[in-house]
Every structure is written in C-alpha cells, then in structure tokens.
Amino acid sequence: MSARPAFAFEDREPGRYAPGRRAFSRKGGAIAASLLLNMLLLAGVVAAMRGPRLLPTGERHALVSIALRPEPRHTTPPPSAPKVEASGRQDHVASLPVPEEKPARVLLAKPGATPPSASLPQPLVPEIEPPAPAASRPAPTPSPEAAADVLDAYRQQIWNRILAARPRGARGSGTVQIRFRIDRNGALLSADIVGSSGRFMLDRMALQAVRRAAPFPPPPESLGTPPLAFTVPVAFH
C-alpha cells in the first residue's frame, strides 16, 4: 500500500467544479416546481372526478356482457338498467330487482312451497347431503323438501364447476360478486359484475371464471322455468 493514492489527479484544477450540496440547493427550486406541478395535476384529476361522471355507473354492468360472444342466445341486449347504482354492494336486494329477471324468481316457487320471502332459508335445509348427483334422485316430486334438495344438489354442481375454473395467477385481495343466468340447457345467458372489488383485474378474472365454467349441466326441470339466476362471491386472498 502506498502512502499516497496512486492516482491523485494532480493536473486537475481544484475547485473549478465543485458539485455537491451547493449544487443541490440550486436545484431546490426545480424540485419544488416539479412537486407543485404534480400536485396541480392531481388536484385537477380529483376535481374532474367530482364533476360529471365519465361513464354512467350502469355502463359498468353492461360492459361485461358485451364481450365477444356473438351467439344467437345473446339476442336480447344485456341489461342496461341502472342495476349497480351507487347504493353499493351492501344492499344488493334493493339494487338488483330488474323486470327481466322475474322468471328467476319462479325458481323457488314450488307448488306448495311458501312464496319466496325473507324467511326463505329455513325450508331449504332438509338434511346434510354432500354433492349428490341430482340425476340419481327420483323424478321431481311436489314436496318442498325434495325441491330444496334438488336445488342444493344442482347448486353444488355449478359451484363446483366455477371452483374448478377459478382464476389462477391473480395478485391482490378483494371480493367480487358475480351474477349470472343460465338457460334450460345450462348455457350461460349473461354474467355480470354486481359487486366490484375496486380492482380491475380481480373483477374481470372472477367474471371470466364464471364464463369459463359454462356451459353448466342442464338444470333439473323441477327447478322451474329457466332462466335461473345465481350470484356467487369470488374472494381473492
């Protein structure tokens, strides 16, 4: 080790160029200006968002249904009614009823069964019955308990299909509510995001999971006149 640095740069003029913190204070103005500019931009955006909406909220509901799917069963345009109005996902019941969905309600209105109401869950709990194939059960009986069994079994089948098609490779967390309708053959009539996670990719991946899970097994006839409507929460952890 030499006592002096090997390369002392002796032939340079000292001090002509002395960067460092002095240079920095000169640049302080530039930083402040850039900060100010950024904040102004942000303020502008916030102001814009408080103003008229760029997209009516209802549109977001429609957007998912218009995806490339030119099959004839799409002849009726996707619901464009303001279903997902600002009331939010806490209270879907209030925000969801749409005239065209009426047939779905028939689903639970079995002969002899109590009409669908808030107290509905109770009659649906006959006995614990893990994924029993609906086909193995006797033909539709007018008994409400049997109807509930059939519904449960069928529900289990479609849920399993969605689980199998669940999105892979997602990042982030959040819960998305998907509502979908299926026809008498089990084909998907529509699928919509009715409760957003606030994250685009999660919303869309959940929706795609339901679309990929289709076609579903044809619903048992005892479940009433299709289309049948379902909602499913997809929770990303």
């Binding site: 080790m1 030499s2 640095p5 090997a6 390369f7 740069f9 032939d11 340079r12 003029e13 002395a18 960067p19 460092g20 240079a23 850039s34 950024n38 942000l42 955006v45 916030v46 909406r53 760029l54 997209l55 957007l63 995806a67 490339l68 799917r69 939010g88 969801l96 309600r105 669908p116 808030a118 509905l120 869950p121 709990v125 614990i128 449960d152 529900r155 289990q156 479609i158 849920w159 969605i162 689980l163 098609a165 669940r166 999105p167 892979r168 490779g169 997602a170 957003s196 606030g198 994250r199 685009f200 990719m201 999971a209 990929r212 409507a229 379902f230 499913v232 929460p233 997809v234 952890h237």
Partner: protein, 711 residues
C-alpha cells in the same frame, strides 16, 4: 397453506348445503364464496422458487431503508453488490447486474452510466412499493428475455377504484430518520378514485451524509446521497378494459460511490408509460409502451476533491410489448407476446480547461450507440390438477447493436494509448447482431398437503450491453472510468463479445410438516457458456511509472458454473402469525467458479445465515435478528479482490401502532460490529484521502426511527 385451503373448501361445501340463500334470495340463488388463494397453491406460471414480498412485509421489517436492492437481501440467495446509498445492485445466486432482468412497473430500465450508478432499482423507494417479486434462475420466458439470472419485478399498487360510487380517497405516508449518517426521508402515496377513474400520486425524498463503519472503522467516505422521485398514475376502466398512463420524474443531485473513482453529481430521468389490459372470453391482452429519458452526470463530490472530470451520459429508451394469454381449455393456457426495446446512449467527457491529460477535445466514450432488441415468446401453461402444473416456453430475442466513431481527449504523447485505441476502434465494423434462443420448463407437484416439489430447467441467453461491447479507452484513466465492479481496476470493452448462454437446473422442495411450520429448500446448478467476465491486460502504473494496486482488464467470454442451495423456514412458536411469536431463518450458499481459468469468480457472497424472532401482540411488535456471514476467502486474484472476515450482526426492533400511526424504533448493528462488506468492493473514497486501500466497511450502529400511517 394448501391444507388450510382444503379445510376451508370442505367447510364451504358443507355450508353450501347448510346455509344457503342470502340477500339475493328474491331474484337469484346465492352460491357460497369461491375462495381463490393467490399464494400457496400450485399454480402454473407462479413458480414455487419465486418469492413475492408484500408491502406489509417491506414496511414491517425495514421501514427506514432507502435501498430497494438492500432490502431484497432478506430473501435467501439474494445479496447486493455495493454501490451508492440507494443504488446497490442485486445478485441472485451469484449472478448480478444485467444478468438479472429488473422490471419497474413492468418496464425495464437501462443502465445509463459506465459505472451502473443509476441501476433500475435506484429509481424506486422501498416506502412506495406495493410488491416485489424475485424469481431466480428458471423464470418462465414470458417474464422477459435477455437475462440469465432471473427476474426481479417491483411494482406500485394496481389501480384502485371506488366500489360504491363515492370518491375513494386513500393512501399512505411515512417518514424516517437514521442516526448513522443523519439519514432521513419521507414518502407519500395518495389515491383518489371514482368508479371508473383512478389517480395516484407517489412522491418521496431521501438524503444521507456519509455513514460510519462499525467499531473502529471510522467514516466511510463517499457514501452520502440525496434523491427525490415523483410519479402520477392515471387509470381508467371502461367496457373495453383498463387504460393506464403514468409519468414520473427522478432527480438525484448527488450520490457518492465509495467504491468508484467517480461520484454521481446529477441524475435526472423522466418517463411516461401507457398500458392497456383487457380480459375477454378468448383471452387476456396486455399492451404497453414506455419512454424514458435519462441525463446522467459524474464528477467528484467533496471526499474525492481536488479534481475535476465531468462525464456525461444521455440515454433514451423506448419499450413496447404486446402480450396475450389465451385459455385454450380449462387446463391449458397459451401465452405469447412480442416485445421491442430500443436504447440510445451517448457518453462523452468534456475537456477540462488547463489539463494536459483531459483536453483539449471532448473524450467521446460512446458515440450514439444503440442496442435494439426484438423478442417473441410462446409459453404453454397447464394446470393438470389442483396439485400439478407445468409451464413450458420458448423465446427468441434478436439484439442489434452499433455505435459511431469515437475520439480521445487529444493527441499528445500522454494520450497515446487512447489515441491508438480510438484509431483501432474507428477502423472496425461495429455492427453486431445476436440471435438468442431461450427456453424454460417448470413442473410443480404437490403430492401431499405437507409437501410440494418443483423441478425446473432453463436455457437463457443475454447479449452484452453497450459498455461491455463498445468502450475502448486503453489509457489508465479512461479504462478506470469503466466498470461496475467496485474494484478500482480499469476495464476495456470488447466488440467481439458473444452473448452469454446459461443452462440452469433447479429444484424446490416446500415442506409444511405441521401447522404454522414451513420449510423451503432450493438447490440449483447453473453452467454459463461465454460468461462475460474479463481477462488481464496489464498492471496500471502511476504517471511516474510506479506500481499501483490496480490492473487493467478487458471484457471477455469465459465459461463459468454456479451451484448452491437456498434454505428458508419459519415456525409459529405461539399464537398465530398475526398475533403471536414466530421464528424465522434462512441460509444461503453459492459457489461460483471460473472454469476457463480455474479460479473463483469475482464477488460471490460467502455462506450466510439469518435467524430472527418476532412477536406481535395487538398493536405491539417486537423483533430481533442475528445475521451471520462467513469469511470470504474465495476471491478473484486477477482483480486483487480483497478477502473479508466473517461477522455477525444483531438487529433489534420494536413498533407500536397507535390511532392508525405506526411508530417504529430499530437498532441496526446493535453491537456496533466493525466489518467489511463481502460484496462492497474497495473503498476508493477513503483511498483518495488516506492512500490506504481497504474494503468498503459496513454500516455501524444506527438507531432508526420510523413513522407511518395509512388512510
């Protein structure tokens, strides 16, 4: 995790029967929740070997760091080559620098400095990142080409939208102080969003004086820095998809480099990038484009004065990519894409008035060099079952490079070496085109709830960068300005370099022997043909002809191999992960060998291990960690790489969350252990003051305070 998922699934199946119909009863039948685990499951395209560190972990374990690469060293197998205070270069399993693809918000950032001072991660602040993903070695080819060592992807948060139609206003803010070096900084992230439009501002500032080494090491010169980053991201979601645009500005007025002859005296960089993502029945689309302009200046900060030697680098980069992911069947997904990357680089050193060596002309180091790359890949991901997945892909990258004529400072006798080198360089055809093929195959299998196995193989190729191919100066001073190795030696480029091609075999074994206990072991082997290293040219002498500690080397293709093992594990000792006591540990060992010359490779991290205990109870967090690093005695003698002694460091930390504010205090290197950084290089800043050459010392004791909040 898998076990838990299955238990959960079983419970859900039961609940499907027992507790049906919710709020939708009136017009739709409610199905039970479909739970999607984004981690822990066997998923095609998410290798077990990869690690994703979340924002919570980043902030929780190291709230006061300004060096993103530095905090990645918490992962086994990842270490950092020392540079400036916020510009460390990550090394994965012995492979570093541009052998690793570093993506910031999905975009690559090119080196814009002959010393790699403005490394990609220097444009990030740990306090504003949302996630960091590290995939060593065998990364799927869809994650990027032109690398052999793996992929590091850091990203800000995905845009958030309001879920109820009202204005969503959210964000976080933090500030910190480090006693050693009087470092401080702060960061803020604010998101304002409606249902379809989202805006996020991110800003940060940090600065530090020189830090003190531990024990009697004293001040480590040329370690001061300051920088600020600002970015504004806008996102809009509509029927067609998600549209994002982001712009930002980075400015660093000074950053000392303890192990370089030069310091960074200004780095200005701005960027704008746009991205579109759409999800359709036929597949997913991801189209992006970005532009970045960097203006980089080097000279001497106070510790290296007197002297003057301005060096300027200007870089423009343009990147665009179109990526598609098409689900072919429920099992199979086809991914394919195209990428284009353009880099333009000008590197020139203005004359110094009155200097005999550095004048009368401008030294043209790189004259409008360019490096254009077009890449295409196809990848097949198959999810055979919940417990078996595979990924197989191939990729082609064509790299085209060229550069203009160069010139030395002048034509005097003292400049003869550079004069001749320039004439030689100008006389050759410098156009270089490389056709690089890469492929990767990964199989992940979980035969039982407690066990998952992954096997991977990859062939990857990387073309030389502009400095490796096109620097030419043979004079002592000119060559010492080139190189990112921190060894003080001079480097000369080599237009005849070939791309380096690596074959990597790796395995990962993930064990969950009991609830709350997990263990991951990853052995690997990499063989690199035409590894871009260097060969000895000559000893460097003083202008008086006296010997020095430094040599001149030239970039050259060698063969090299790397093997080793990474191990990490954790165990919940009491309570749960969120509220209890946890033990965690990791261990890494790598052996890097220059096969051509049968020598150790430069800067290979010695065996190291970490053991930590953390305890959380409600708002209170306590943690302690011991880090042990073995002595480094496998050194590259050709570069006079110094050996470093083994050391152990103790860190303690505590944090308390009160009314939404998290206050943390940390004692880093509690015992003020004096030690040298195994990958820190030699302390040129100290050398220019004391004439004594020593390795760069690690940071001594520092008491760090942090405060942060989320809203």
């Amino acid at each position: 995790m898998t076990q838990m998922t299955r238990a959960l699934r079983a419970a859900l199946l039961a609940s499907a029967v027992l507790a049906p119909t919710g709020a939708y009863a009136q017009d739709a039948t409610q199905l039970p929740t479909v739970d999607v685990e984004t981690t822990g499951e066997v998923q095609a395209g998410k290798p077990l070997a990869g690690t994703t560190v979340s924002a919570e972990t980043l902030r929780g374990s190291d709230a006061t760091s300004s060096d993103t690469a530095g905090i990645l060293t918490a992962l086994p197998g990842v270490s950092a080559n020392g540079g400036g205070g916020f510009s460390s270069m990550p090394t994965i399993r012995g492979l570093s620098e541009q052998r690793i693809k570093v993506l910031v918000d999905g975009q690559p950032i090119d080196a814009a400095c002959p010393n790699d001072m403005n490394s990609p991660l220097s444009y990030t602040m740990p306090q504003t990142l949302s996630s960091v993903t590290v995939i060593p070695g065998v990364a799927p080819v869809s994650m990027g080409g032109d690398n052999i060592g793996g992929v590091i992807s850091v990203a800000a948060a995905e845009p958030r939208f309001s879920t109820d139609g009202t204005l969503l206003l959210t964000g976080e803010a933090s500030a910190f102080y480090r006693s050693n070096g009087d470092g401080f900084g702060g960061a803020v992230t604010v998101t304002a969003a409606g249902s379809n439009l989202s805006a996020t501002y991110t800003g940060s500032y940090t600065q530090s004086d020189n830090y003190d080494g531990g024990g009697s090491k004293g001040e480590v010169r040329s370690t001061e820095y300051a920088k600020t980053d600002h970015a504004l991201a806008l996102a809009w979601q509509n029927e067609a998809g998600l549209w994002e645009i982001k712009g930002g500005y980075h400015f660093s007025p000074y950053e000392g480099f303890a192990n370089q002859w030069m310091d960074m005296t200004s780095n200005k960089s701005w960027f704008v990038q746009g991205r579109y993502r759409g999800v359709f029945d036929w597949g997913d689309v991801d189209i992006s484009a970005s532009y970045r302009d960097t203006d980089h200046k080097m000279n001497f900060l106070a510790d290296k004065l007197p002297g003057d030697m301005p060096m300027n680098t200007e870089v423009h980069t343009f990147t665009s990519a179109a990526k598609f992911s098409v689900p072919v069947t429920m099992r199979d997904t086809l991914k394919f894409g195209l990428e284009y990357h353009h880099q333009w680089l000008d590197d020139y050193w203005p004359p110094v008035e009155g200097s005999m060596m550095m004048g009368p002309d401008t030294f043209v180091n790189i004259n409008q060099g360019h490096r254009n790359r077009i890449g295409a890949y196809a990848e097949w991901q198959a999810q055979w079952s919940d417990t078996l997945s595979s990924v197989v892909g191939v990729r082609y990258d064509r790299v085209e490079m060229n550069t203009g004529d160069v010139q030395p400072y002048g034509t005097s006798m003292m400049q003869m070496a550079d004069v001749m080198a320039a004439a030689m360089f100008n006389s050759i055809d410098r156009n270089r085109n490389d056709n690089n093929w890469s492929a990767s195959a990964i199989v992940t299998w979980a035969p039982a709830d407690t066990l998952a196995i992954e096997l991977g193989y990859a062939h990857k190729a990387r073309s030389p960068n502009i400095y490796e191919r096109y620097t030419w100066g043979r004079g002592s001073m000119a060559s010492r300005m080139i190189g990112w190795f921190g060894d003080g030696n001079g480097y000369v480029g080599n237009p005849d370099l070939k791309p380096e091609r690596a074959d990597t075999f790796s395995a990962t074994l993930s064990l969950t022997p009991a609830q709350g206990v997990s263990l991951k072991v990853s052995p690997y082997y990499t063989r690199v043909n035409d590894y871009i290293d260097a060969v000895y040219l000559q000893d460097l002498l003083t202008p008086m002809g006296m010997p020095t500690d430094f040599v001149q080397l030239q970039f050259a293709n060698l063969d090299a191999e790397f093997y080793g093992v990474d191990l990490s594990g954790e165990a919940v000792l009491a309570g749960t992960r969120e509220n209890g006591t946890m033990l965690s540990g990791s261990l890494a060992w790598v052996h890097g060998q220059n096969l051509t010359e049968d020598l150790p490779l430069y800067h290979q991290m010695p065996f190291n291990a970490k053991l930590g205990v953390s305890h959380r109870q409600g708002a209170f967090e306590l943690g302690g960690e011991v880090e042990w690093v073995d002595r480094k005695d496998r050194v590259d003698p050709r570069r006079n790489e110094p050996e470093t002694a083994s050391y152990a460091l103790v860190n303690l930390r505590a944090a308390y969350t009160l009314a939404g504010w998290r206050l943390s205090v940390e004692a880093e290197n509690l015992l003020d252990k004096g030690y040298d950084l195994p990958l820190g290089g030699v302390a040129i800043g100290d050398y220019k003051n004391t004439g004594i050459l020593r390795p760069v010392a690690g940071r001594g004791r520092s008491v760090n305070l942090g405060i942060s909040t989320k809203f």
